[in-house]
Point group: C2
Chain length 965, copies 2
Amino acid sequence: LGRGLATAKAPSNLFAPLDTFADRHIGPDDHEVSHMLSELGYESMDAFVDATVPPHIRVSASSVSNESIPALSEAELHRRAKALGSSNKSFKSYIGLGYHNAVVPPVILRNITESPAWYTPYTPYQPEIAQGRLESLVNFQTMIMSLTAMDIANASLLDEATAAAEGMVMAFASGNNKKRTFLVDSGVLPQTVAVLRTRAKGFGIHLVIGDASSALKDEKLRSDLCGVLVQYPDVNGKITDFTALAASVHDAGAPVICATDLLALTLLKAPGEWGADIVLGNSARFGVPAGYGGPHAAFFATTDKLKRKMPGRLIGRSRDTMGKPAYRLALQTREQHIRREKATSNICTSQALLANMAAMYAVYHGPEGLRRIASRVHALTQVFKSTVEGFGYKAVNADFFDTLTLDVTGVSSTEAVHAAAAAAGVNLRRIDDKLVGLTFDESVGPKDLLRLITVFANAASASTPALADLATPETVAIPSALRRSSAILPHPVFNKHHSETEMLRYIYHLQSKDLGLVHAMIPLGSCTMKLNSTSSMIPLTFPEFSAVHPFVPVDQVKGYLQVIKELEEDLCKVTGFHACSLQPNSGAAGEYAGLSVIRAYHESRGEGHRNICLIPVSAHGTNPASAVMAGFKVVAVKSLTDGGLDLEDLRSKAQLHKDNLAAFMITYPSTFGVFESGVQDACKIIHDNGGQVYLDGANLNAQVGVTNPATCGGDVCHLNLHKTFAIPHGGGGPGVGPICVAEHLAPFLPGHPLVATGGSQAIDAVSAAPFGSASILLISWAYIKMLGGQGLSDSSKVALLNANYMAHRLSGHYSVRYTNHNGRVAHELLIDLAEFDKVAGLKVTDFAKRLQDYGFHPPTCSWPISTCMLIEPTESETLDEINRFCDAMIQIRKEAEDVITGKQPKDNNVLKNAPHPISVLTLTEEEWKRPYSRSTAVYPAPWLVETKFWPTVSRIDDGMLSSHR
Amino acid sequence: LGRGLATAKAPSNLFAPLDTFADRHIGPDDHEVSHMLSELGYESMDAFVDATVPPHIRVSASSVSNESIPALSEAELHRRAKALGSSNKSFKSYIGLGYHNAVVPPVILRNITESPAWYTPYTPYQPEIAQGRLESLVNFQTMIMSLTAMDIANASLLDEATAAAEGMVMAFASGNNKKRTFLVDSGVLPQTVAVLRTRAKGFGIHLVIGDASSALKDEKLRSDLCGVLVQYPDVNGKITDFTALAASVHDAGAPVICATDLLALTLLKAPGEWGADIVLGNSARFGVPAGYGGPHAAFFATTDKLKRKMPGRLIGRSRDTMGKPAYRLALQTREQHIRREKATSNICTSQALLANMAAMYAVYHGPEGLRRIASRVHALTQVFKSTVEGFGYKAVNADFFDTLTLDVTGVSSTEAVHAAAAAAGVNLRRIDDKLVGLTFDESVGPKDLLRLITVFANAASASTPALADLATPETVAIPSALRRSSAILPHPVFNKHHSETEMLRYIYHLQSKDLGLVHAMIPLGSCTMKLNSTSSMIPLTFPEFSAVHPFVPVDQVKGYLQVIKELEEDLCKVTGFHACSLQPNSGAAGEYAGLSVIRAYHESRGEGHRNICLIPVSAHGTNPASAVMAGFKVVAVKSLTDGGLDLEDLRSKAQLHKDNLAAFMITYPSTFGVFESGVQDACKIIHDNGGQVYLDGANLNAQVGVTNPATCGGDVCHLNLHKTFAIPHGGGGPGVGPICVAEHLAPFLPGHPLVATGGSQAIDAVSAAPFGSASILLISWAYIKMLGGQGLSDSSKVALLNANYMAHRLSGHYSVRYTNHNGRVAHELLIDLAEFDKVAGLKVTDFAKRLQDYGFHPPTCSWPISTCMLIEPTESETLDEINRFCDAMIQIRKEAEDVITGKQPKDNNVLKNAPHPISVLTLTEEEWKRPYSRSTAVYPAPWLVETKFWPTVSRIDDGMLSSHR
Ligand SMILES: Cc1ncc(COP(=O)(O)O)c(C=O)c1O
Ligand SMILES: Cc1ncc(COP(=O)(O)O)c(C=O)c1O
Ligand SMILES: O=C([O-])O
């Protein structure tokens, strides 16, 4: 009786807590599990799993068990998180370097960041049920375009450093990969330089770092120049007029890339106004806490001229079939699924939730509010500067916005200053033994200012003036040529939601348009949309975790480092690997990091020439894109008609490329939704030919405690923590893509220029922050700790069971394309709808849009096979919900039958006209002109009258979209 | 430029924070304020206020200013609240006495308690846009009926003690007020006894407190017996079989009232199963934190036989005009507006949000889960008992559920035990110098148990056993005759939402049906539905405030006491009074408390015979009900045709009752929406005739910083903190109704039996907890501190302006019933729709329901005048929203014109058929049969296509009601 999975039932004990998370996370209860097993013809879960997962790759139950990973109750987890939080020291950081103490407007904190309506939806691939976040992402783009004065902006990238790397590669590509020198000004942030180094390697770009103006005088450099990156204001706070530099770079035929700061841009002349071609940066100071490094949204903007090469997702305005304006993802033809190895970027999951927070921050403050904030920050910086100059410190930069670099040697020493700072609970930027840096932000108030002044007074044995004695600056310290004169954010959305009531209503209005896990199952194959539990989300917004600068001394982040250590260890237990890096901040970033590690490994063995990467045709588009970015050449491997890898093709290609074989990328279970029994054989073929095996762990939810990537034969894998480990997808990000590696690869795990991390022969950084999107690691950590080993394995088993039960119910109505020899699918299933197109012109999209009318988010469409749907229910869905979904699918099958038999016309039927938003219902009888009733259109199943999520627009023209992943 | 009200603009200063709350709280910005002023023909806000508020009652600007109440920024408030929270000591309390350490399921905490979708709606007077919380309140009722085994339960009362008082009065009334002896068993909680004492006084009930079984042997007592109250389990933890007692009480012709505990009832025979007639208690241990006393929902259940006398709101099942099942408030005919001085209860605002939390807790855990929790609590209590009995302590009660009373004298002393407890950070119940009490709850885990055992071991110089050595009890310590054998919570709603995903979807499904401030203005006159800001809500769920037992030693609650002190002081500044009591937990409770204070004052002067209370006919129904409860006789005073009080009638009645005149109750500005200039004269008349003036402060939002109750001439007033001071209304509660009094009344402010509070000649308690619903006081405290004096006055001024602008726009279309001689209304306006009924049969309800089609919550209907609407926009609404509302009203006026002119039939038009839910749109053309289009029905204004809140059912027949479960 009760909930808990049969296999999970711990012997009851008087003292055992009752708030066991597995009971809440796993959807089906004991009865439902038994029912599904018996429908499938199994006596036990074990028997079912045995029939589903090949025996030779099974791992022992002890690998992921309550002994190896003990389970904490929800309350215990909360206490543990609190305790770890308190073991971080809450210093106030003025370190700068692109990270600030952001002030999150409470209305945004509570109603976006902490709201499952905003954090549970997926990337808006189904625009009819995603108009809310699409509008908000358009606001983000509009905000970036306005502040940077560029023609077009995307809907976010992963962080400033990777955005700079994307910019570099875009510059390189826009010169047709012919010119190879990329010039990085010495004012650029150190972590950006590190990431550029890594990325340049893969593309064979030659990086030159130095004073850009001087370097540009070199004709040899100019002749090979593919682009220049400057920072505005720069790492030391200096504001330079780059107008002449831009002209000179343009003369050399290359684009200028500018890394910049949004708050500064409210007062500074926009990069677009002095000639920048690509503008990028970190939007986090617009209301997104530092979180020990992330997540936050990088922005990226460019000119009309270059827009076709712009990486990342772009939201565009379109119209629905009724002519109503509607938003949708645009330029998808350029995403990796289409371009594959021709893609120059592998970005997939980005930072939608954080972009939305930043956009909402601008909506809330508006142009005047932002300028007021910027002016106050600037004025306090000025007051501080003139005060400490009075003590004898010397500011290296005369022009500045919020950042000062002080030469302390006249009156003190850097040690003395840093010691005084530490004593006052303050972090300054350590530069060298002469200079100290500091950056002001919105959070700094008069008391903070006084504390800071006291630090510098003490270190100089001067006396601290009273606040009242500090003079208000008379003018700004921004050169007049660089002051912004153009308007910012004139769009109405930034000029009307300024009362909290209006802001709240705007947030609720947008969210009412979006289907999330709060409404129904989101059975997106390969995306693993499971419960994002409240207990795992709560620690994230503890200030002890959210308000931490990524470059603080490590003794201030004991709590964080403990979480990181435990998470790394647990992920190693789950994958069977030896070491882990949490730095990559998306799955695709993990792929790139893993492949770069493989490249470094080969190099370390003098086999740097190995450059062939084998990838099955069924692979996710990020795989070939990442391979190319890591400097490999992609060779495709065929699939068999049963969905399995063509081992013969693999063998012959491995042997053919034997001397140069670098890697093989494989997704397991395959993107076709089956556990291939030949996976170990495949890996052996690769190893025998000198290659390394990269396992794409997007499907790890099928494996936990059942098999693991190491046992399958891999050398490295990435995990999508935003899939298997329950980080909410945030409507298109954040994500985390850690990599786990076998022992021989551990030395090469990515390092960081400012915080020691990674292996002994670490490759350069792959992300801006040492531990990537550190704050959300807490979510996966909590998820793992609360489930414990048993709950983790049970989750995977139930995920397999749910998918197989669904396959069982749908077969007979739909053709399940691939199963193993026992008729079993893995944790997802591929159904093929080709026949409907053939006989009645009904496409995958028609089925998908009709599912919206049933209140469901459609599964993954047309990937990995264009005529298919890939359906993944996950373990968090109950039998009821799964049955409801199957009922809907079966009913749609009947509706399709009516089209096939001619009862409904081919061009005017419930599928072709789907989805049906409310507004369609108000058409007059003449306008209606449909051979079915309104009620059939919108209430095709009885439950819908009570529970239905409504699309807000009718079908949006997908244009040339041939895939929506 | 920018936001801020012109009058509020502080001289800008470099160090001034920018997150000033007034800018976010007040809807209209400077431009909008100027626009409205100029539309009304005023040059300045001052000129407008001068024309609106009588000059002789104006107060000086300094009374409520930034000097008297300095403004904190949002961030400063947050820091201050954190600091005060940390100055509370976080002891773990085992004090019991009806309060526990509740465990709030995180999914409920975040998605109900902290969600504006749940906390901002009003009492569900408009069922078509409130089906979500109506369903949840029905769940609450169903849960109570099942656990108590009673026929009917209401949707919550204020706290257990007042619920017991309601039970007593109901028993008294059900015996037609003839029998006057009410017997209270000595096992009843002390705070309940105190509240009964207060309440008995007003009704002239004779309270006998003692061992009930023995007392019942007294024939004299039996012959005058109106009811008996027992506690089950009792204050000391004892479980008594009351079967025989019940029979004996029934023999005497009186009902048995049982105060009980919901968790205990999952294991104990239900009171309904052994003969109780009324069952009540506190539902807080079902997931509602103690919050230093509240808020939480009391429950109240009774038999079919007695149901007509049941106090409070009851939700029933009904049907809409399409025949679809729908919920609505039932038995409204019994509310005070109808019964007025014949009402036996004055309860109005109850505890809807907390009842919803408790109901959701049961939905989440289900019958099995609740039993598991109860069994664990019981088992841990057993283990503790046998262990400390091993040390030599003696349990006074052999039978128990979770509470033990220990005689410590054999091995230790009470001082030693309490000292050991304090050293361990633990609070036990102090009983006397022999006995110590303690109560276990869901939060207690093995570590807590061990800590507790150690306390008792130390105090007895015994050694603490290891956890592993503690024996699991073999049987329960509940007498077999009192074990529950019947099923609990069989209803499906308690048996299917047990995974977090399902629970979350259920919460979201319900909330999607309810219109709250997150969607649109709720212009309910007299209800003051203003912004409930996130900043003011955040401290509420800090554990330092939420997890505090109300009876802890005062040195553990320094933070709370500071908040209480500051709030009392600020409320005195705002009202002009001398002292304040925060104990009353609703407006009506405040009325009752204030009148009881007046009664005590008269008594103290030997004028206890004064018992006449004058009340204008326009008064809110709670006024006469409260007066009767406080022991007064109500005499009505007429209104003039201009809406003013009839001073002549007042004078003649005051003089007529001169010798017995006790009080006059007046609402100011009046419920007719005008500032009467004669208020001071009226008060003088009362004072001249020996009476005291009670000012109903429901309309205080019109007064702050402009006038005040003391200046108007009052002696005492209550404030609805859930109106003027921004406590969210929670869909029907919680509320707080503090009273402020002039100096001569201060000695009589209510006391409390367990915590020193109130005046030197304090009346007995009026609520269970010393400071009432203490935790939500933080909200009003934050509101006041963040606005500061200037922001508070500006808020009232803008509230007046918004209402007058609205009156201006609507006049010409509707008749504004009352204005002052300058044509000004106060903060709300009354429009009279009588003419429409006369010429076209269109009622107030038809206009109200049609407003729902425009996406608005209708204003207060048919009160205080049956043909009117009372509209209150508050200061938080922007000009846009106010205009949108006026546009809707004007458009409806045009729609009414079509009915008047016969363009639309009288019985089939957009008003009569309103509201139009989505389901109506799917009617076939034959079924539609309406002389207007679907589009006219649901999109009568252009903005609705984009932004519309949809009713989920069509009009609900107010007459028809099928059942209450
Ligand atoms: C199989 C597979 N590989 C890689 C990825 C890329 O992961 P991310 O979106 O986190 O970059 C995905 C994302 O869906 C995927 O399904
Ligand atoms: C004028 C007036 N007095 C008293 C009350 C009762 O207040 P409460 O609902 O808090 O008990 C109300 C509530 O609306 C009111 O409007
Ligand atoms: O986001 C994905 O393409 O899966």
